[in-house]
Every structure is written in C-alpha cells, then in structure tokens.
C-alpha cells in the first residue's frame, strides 16, 4: 500500500535514492554488501536520514524477510532500560531467518538514556553479540558513553544542504502535481533548517490548504504552527501584570505540553533581551538557576516558576 503520509511515501528505500550524506552513505553501503555489519552508531541532527538508512540496511540484508529480523525501539519512549532489555531479550532469543546469521535492533534516540542505563545497554549488546547487531542513533555522539562508542562503527550525519532539500521538494511537487515557485523552495529550506522530515511535513501541511503553493502560504503555515512563545509570559511580568503572566504560563504549558524545565530554559535565554539593568539580569539569572535546581530536585514546577515570575515583576519595577 502506498502511504498517504509523505514522509513515508517518499522515504528512500535504496542507497541510491538517498540525498546528502555522501561519505557516510558509501561506507555504510560497502559494509552492508559484505552481509556482515558491526554495531553501528548514527550521530546527527533530526531529519537527516538516520532511521531511513537503518531501514535501507536491513532491507538490503534480509530482503523480503526484513520485518521478522528487525526490531525498532525508541529510547525516549520506552520506560527505562529494563523495558528495552526485556524487549531485546525476547527478540534475540530466536535465531534469525535466512542467510544472514544475526538480527538487527535499531535503538533510536539512544542519547536519551542516562549513562547508567547505557552501561546496562552495553552489557546487553555484549550478551547477544552472537545473534544481534545494534544500530544506535543519537543527536550527539558525545552523549554516548565511551565503551559503547568503541564497540560501534560511528557515522556522522549532516544537516541537508539547500541543493539536496531542493531535489526532494522538486520530486514531490512533480509527483503530487503541486505548483511551486523558487521562493517557496527558499522559504521551506529556511523553515526546516536542513531537517528533511520537517521540510516534507511543511510541504504536505501547506498542500493540504492548497495545491498551488506560494511563499506567503508557506510562511503563514510556518508561523501558525510554531510553538507559542514563553516571551509573552515575561513581558506581562515585567509590565507588572502578575495575574495575567501566570495564567498565560499555565495556558502555554498545558496547551503545548511543555515541561517546567523547557520553560526555564527559554526564560534563561530570554533574560538577556529584557529591558533591565545588567546587575538585575545577573540576579534574575541566579534566581532562574535556583528555580531550575529545585525543579530538577523534584519541586512543583508551577510553584517554582510562579515564584520566579514574582522576581521578574520586581525587576520590572527596577528592583532586584
């Protein structure tokens, strides 16, 4: 069945269909051809082809039996390393089908695991090394512990360049009979920042409104689907309207499902753009750090954030 979700419909299924990542691509392809791969570590930003390449590798290895020999897990979704270990154990217990003597486990977002969980993962990798190969993906290889890195062949993925993104857009536009202008390509490239998944999603979301796409439409979609800004919360606080500031805070946290820690991160960056004296900025930063510490320690995020907003109200009055 052909998918109606374009990131799936246009996901490359062979090495030759992939765009960008030339070096990585060649090396992974030649490894796969030997029918025997080591553990692999794919490191790079979102939407650059890590999962896609993992899928191509297993399809190349196992052909039509790939589904039976492939397990996909997401480290940020699975509750704890024990769940990962159990699933791996169940999957690795039976022998692989076909001519390749191992199965493949793809563990996405492996850098979401704590260092302790990664140690446990390392042991699991060793225990099943005769029957399983792991492909790990992460945004930053520095967040993967050394013992795992040393057991893997590491491949780096770069953000896609404009010419690659353009290729993808043109191909989809042609097949879906969309009319697009050169500015649209420019706008999509800027909007997705080299993330191919986001680019295709933006394109499909825009096409859902109209098949004749112009730059204005794309820019409207980009700004309408951007997560709401925490800045407005601080603006109210600095202006002295505490009530509205905290109502807005709860509203954004609930609607966008963002955590207290995410909010703190944005606040910390936003302090430097506030119209207050330098010494007050330092004091506010200290307060923000303390609030973050308390939240990490297990305090109620909303209470700590309210206390922080009260400090911003005071800062707005010119006091620290």
């Amino acid at each position: 069945m052909v998918s109606e979700i374009w990131t799936e419909k246009y996901r490359p299924t062979r090495f030759t269909e992939m765009v960008g990542q030339d070096n990585t691509l060649k090396r992974v392809e030649s490894l796969t051809k030997t029918n025997n791969i080591p553990h692999l570590l794919f490191a790079g930003p979102a939407g650059t082809g890590k999962s896609t390449l993992a899928l191509i590798v297993v399809k190349e290895l196992f052909r039509e039996d790939w589904r039976e020999n492939y397990l996909e897990l997401n480290a940020s979704d699975e509750r704890g390393i024990n769940v990962v270990r159990d699933k791996v154990k169940n999957f690795a217990r039976t022998k692989s089908l076909g001519s390749v003597p191992f199965k493949v486990i793809f563990l996405d977002e492996a850098d979401a695991l704590t260092p302790e969980a990664q140690q446990a993962l390392r042991r699991t990798m060793e225990n099943y090394s005769s029957t399983c190969r792991f492909i790990l993906s992460c945004n930053y290889s520095s967040k993967i512990i050394d013992p795992i890195q040393s057991r893997c062949a590491i491949f780096r993925f770069k953000l896609l360049e404009k010419k690659d993104i353009e290729k993808v857009i043109q191909k989809i536009a042609e097949r879906e009979k969309l009319s697009i202008t050169p500015e649209v390509v420019e706008m999509l490239y800027e909007g997705c920042e080299g993330d191919c998944r986001r680019c295709i999603n933006l394109l499909q979301a825009t096409a859902a409104i109209s098949p004749s796409i112009n730059a204005d439409l794309v820019s409207t979609i980009i700004s309408n689907t951007k997560p709401k800004d925490i800045k407005i919360v601080l603006d109210y606080a600095i202006a002295g309207d505490f009530q509205r500031s905290r109502d807005k805070l709860l509203d954004i946290m609930l609607k966008e499902s963002i955590s207290g820690q995410d909010v703190i991160k944005s606040i910390q960056k936003e302090i430097w753009n506030l119209p207050v004296e330098p010494e007050i900025k330092v004091k506010l930063t200290e307060k923000t750090g303390e609030a973050e510490f308390r939240i990490v320690e297990g305090s109620d995020p909303f209470i700590q954030l309210q206390a922080l907003l009260a400090s911003f109200v005071l800062a707005g009055l010119g006091k620290g």
Binding site: M1, S3, E4, I5, W6, T7, E8, A46, S51, L55, E72, N74, S76, D77, D108, E109, A112, R197, R198, N201, L202, Q204, A205, T206, A208, I209, I221, N224, T225, K226, P227, G240, F242, Q243, R246, L250, L254, K255, S257, A291, R294, E297, G298, S299, D300, F302, I303, Q304, Q306, A307, A310, S311, V313, L314, L317, K319
Partner: protein, 390 residues
C-alpha cells in the same frame, strides 16, 4: 473551557433567579441620564453580578468599559485611561457601560480614588455599574451614598438544580437526581460553585464523592486565608492550619491561587519565596520520608507568607477556589486523544512520541486527508478530536 464560562447567560431572559434585580436594572438603564447615580450590584459570590452587568450591556447594545484597580488610584490616572475612550465615543457615538468589578476586592491603597471616580464619572454620558460582595464595611459608606443599591440574593436550590439540569441536557450527560439535589443544596446559593462541582462530578468515576468534599471546609480555609493575608503575624498564625480540615497540600494550592489577589510588588515576591521554599521542603519530605521537615513547610506557609506584607490589610477579599488542578484535569481530558494520535503516528513513521507531539500542529494539517487517517487506523473519537480543534 469551564462550563461556567460556556453557559454564562448573555441576555436578561437567560438569567435565572434574579428577576427583581433585572427589573431594577432595566429601570435604571431606562431612566439613565447624565448626572445620575451609579448602580451598585451587591451580593454573595456566584449570584450573577458580573453576568448581569454584561447582560445589561448586551440588552442596550453597549460596550463594556472595565476599569481595574490601578485605574482607580487617582484622577490623573483615570483621565489618562478614559481620555482616549471619550474621544472615541464622540466619533462613533457607541454606547458604553462602565464596569467596576468586585470593588471590595480592590486593596485599600488602590481604593482611595473611588469616591473621586464617582464624582468624576457623573459628568460622563455613560451608566456606571459597580459590583461588590460586601458593602457594609465602614470605609464604603461614602461610596454607598453615591450609588443606587441593588441587592442580589442567594439563588435558591431549586433554581440552581434547574440550571444544572439544563446544562446536562446540552452536554448530553446524565446524573442521578438525588446527587443533583445534593450539589444544588451544598452550593448554598452560589450558582458558580454548583456548576463547577457538576463539571467535576460528571468526570469522576464515582460522582457521589463530590458531596464528601463539603464546601463547609471552605469556611475554615477562607478564615485561615484572611488571617494570613490580612493580619499581623503572631503566635496564633503558626497554628492557623490546625483549624482547617484540609490536607496541607491542598492548603498550599489555596495559598498559591490567592497570593496575587492580596500582595503586589515586593510583598508578592517575598510571599512566593516563602511558598516556593515550603514546596522544596514538601519535596524533601516525600523523597527522604523524613516527616520533621513538615514543621518548616508549615511555618513557611503560615507565618512566612503572613510576614511578607507591610503592616496589615483591610477590606474584603473574595478568595478563589484553586483552579489549577481543574484546568490540568480538563486539559488532560482534552489532550488524551492528542497523545494517542501522536503515538500511532510516531510508530508509523519511525520517530519518538515526543517528537510527534512537537510536530503536532503540522500533523493536524496533514491529517485532514481522510486516507492518511485511515492509514493510521484512527478511532472515531480521535477523528473527532482533529475536527473539533480546526
């Protein structure tokens, strides 16, 4: 959205249980001319004061011009706020009603300019409506003389019950008759409280539990809040929570909700410092199971917050029931489907659920396509969620 907002009456004809007041307001508006007294609607919480003011505006095709506490500080401030509106009026000739909502909730320092306001507005061309809970405090006597008083009575339980039944019908929900009577009686004339209780009860596994959470408790908590926010801290402040028949975690929510109603500026910050530190100790108790920390949590919440103010506070403050938990609960109800859709999508396109949640605004547009919905095997409720929000 809370039902109290969704089902807030828009017209006089939709307002139940306040026919006398409506007649008086009609007469007031009909006979209104420049230089007349202001109208003051007073009565207990949840009897429809603000609703009546807005309905009055709708009936006369007027726009509400609401003044808030800080506008009332002095004449200059007032002129600055009203000036542009005055000019606007002369251009468009639109009707306006000036609303000063919950005048007794305004703190003393903001309140000083109020008699001045009334004098000033007598020269204006618009009717003024003031709402208040309790106007018999001595400090209100000057204002009282300047106004035409309309008292709102507690709404009787049968009327409340009728309103609840009407809401249930519109929501297509059912509830046991005895339970409805229980909720209506328990509200003690406060229609807003009854509707809030109804909305919570409908979502509970065992709705009859709503009656256990008796509003009597709130008499104690209101008293405790008054002591903490208004009085000078003393030894009794330390023991104030003993008289409150409510777990400390819940008391904390009440304090959190109402601090900004009383404190401003530096007071606000000090009070939140105490509250947030109390919360830190609460966390330490749970983590370490070391219950002596409760002493610190208690002192910070009572004496700590009480000592954040300079001197004492006067006047009546209409403390609000904590809304945060209700809002979170409502939001979870609303977004439950969002989570399941994101999970299906995440598995289908090989990404994590968190990223799927992050990309949801785009996903919403992509899933306008019925074929894509079929592909994800979305349930009927999930499709309804996508359609509703568009």
């Amino acid at each position: 959205m809370p039902w109290v907002e969704i089902y807030r009456p828009k017209r006089f004809s939709e307002i139940k249980g306040q026919n006398d007041a409506i007649e008086k307001i009609k007469i007031f508006l009909k006979n209104f001319q420049k230089g007349k007294k202001a109208l003051m609607l007073y009565g207990p919480p949840g009897t429809g004061k603000t609703t009546l003011a807005y309905a009055a505006a709708a009936e006369t095709d007027s726009e509400i011009f609401e003044l808030n506490a800080s506008d009332l500080r002095n004449k200059e401030k007032l002129k600055a706020v009203l000036g542009p509106a005055l000019e606007q009026m002369s251009l468009t000739n639109d009707n306006k009603i000036i609303l000063v909502d919950e005048v007794d909730g305004i703190s003393k320092e903001d309140w000083g300019g109020l008699p001045e306001l009334v004098g000033f507005l007598e020269d204006a061309n618009w009717p003024i409506i003031i709402t208040a809970n309790d106007i018999w405090d001595k400090s209100f006597s000057a204002l009282r003389k300047e106004c035409e008083l309309v008292q709102l009575k507690e709404i009787d339980y049968k009327t409340i019950k009728d309103v609840l039944i009407a809401i249930l019908k519109k929501e297509d929900k059912f509830m046991d008759n005895n339970l409805l009577t229980g909720i209506s009686v328990k509200a003690k004339g406060d229609l807003r409280a009854a509707i809030n209780d109804l909305q919570i009860a409908v979502g509970m596994e065992d709705p009859s539990k709503i009656l256990e959470n008796d509003r009597n408790k709130e008499v104690d908590i209101f008293n405790a809040l008054r002591v903490i926010f208004k009085e000078k801290p003393n030894d009794n402040t330390l023991r104030i929570f003993d008289s409150v028949n409510m777990p400390i975690d819940q008391i904390m929510l009440w304090l959190e909700e109402n601090i900004p109603a009383e404190y401003k500026g530096a007071e606000l910050q000090k009070a939140y410092d105490a509250l947030s530190m109390a919360d830190v100790f609460k966390g330490r108790i749970y983590k370490q199971q070391y219950w002596r920390f409760l002493v610190y949590e208690n002192i910070l919440l009572s004496y700590g917050i009480a000592s954040a103010k300079d001197g004492i506070k006067r006047g009546f403050t209409n403390y609000k029931k904590p809304e945060r938990i209700l809002k979170i609960w409502l939001n979870n109800q609303r977004t439950a489907k969002k989570v399941t859709i994101a999970r299906k999508y995440a598995q289908h396109v090989h990404i994590g659920q968190k990223r799927a949640m992050f990309e949801f605004p785009l996903l919403r547009l992509i899933l306008k396509n019925p074929e894509a919905r079929k592909e994800l095997k979305l349930e009927k409720e999930e499709e309804e969620y996508l359609d509703r929000q568009n």
